[in-house]
Symmetry: C2
Subunit: 104 residues, 2 copies
DNA sequence: TGAACATATGAATATCTGTTCATATGTATT
DNA sequence: AATACATATGAACAGATATTCATATGTTCA
């Protein structure tokens, strides 16, 4: 068996490759990364996230929707506010892996 | 000190956020992910990569350039061929962290 | 040197993405 | 009910991105 066949066999299937790329795509925008860091340890309202991230309310809301669809964040409603948090412990791990990589 | 201030203090600086997003952007395209999986364990010529990835030679070459600029891959020339490999052990870790995340 | 091969590159194009602006929706308060 | 507040949403736009096609560059071998 040559190398090419060996690699082909160990290659994740098309769908996994696609989903993986999709996951990283979620982390490929500075605004989204900031949002995730913001709510990594504390849940936060959209208003607070907006202030911390330093973008507009609309932009933040749009990005929260993207993150929500990817199931990277969850939310609960409290009165007029909507409070977001990271929905998955892996997110922190992946972010710090990445951070470790770039700080070298 | 309120929560907002606390989060702002722990937030990575703008440049780190940007670089981090940039790193993940490299992993946000299926073709690039496939290329990286291909050369994760064995170095491979562009021709072999092209066959494994199942794209065109040109597309693969363009993406290799992107990965090269991000210093995620390195290469050596052997005769007419150029042989690429992953330049950083972290890449494997980040990929499998991501893979672990999606397979749940 | 010339032909064949391997890879890189540039231009063009179609698609995707993030932001902005305006406004809608939903909730609390008076 | 009317107003103020918090968030979401849709359309439009500008910029980015991946692929394709054609071709250039560079290397080997006859």
């Amino acid at each position: 068996m040559d190398n090419i066949e060996k690699v082909k066999e160990n290659m994740p299937i098309e769908e996994e490759i696609f989903e993986l790329a999709e996951l990283f795509k979620m982390l490929s925008d500075p605004t989204r990364v900031k949002i995730l860091y913001t709510i990594l340890e504390n849940e936060m309202s959209v208003g607070d996230i907006t202030e911390i991230v330093g973008s507009t309310q609309s932009a933040v809301s749009h990005q929260l929707r993207v993150l929500k669809q990817a199931r990277l964040v969850k939310y609960r409603k409290v009165g007029k506010s909507v409070i977001y948090s990271v929905s998955d412990e892996h997110v922190a791990t992946i972010l710090s892996m990445g951070m470790e990589h770039i700080s070298e």
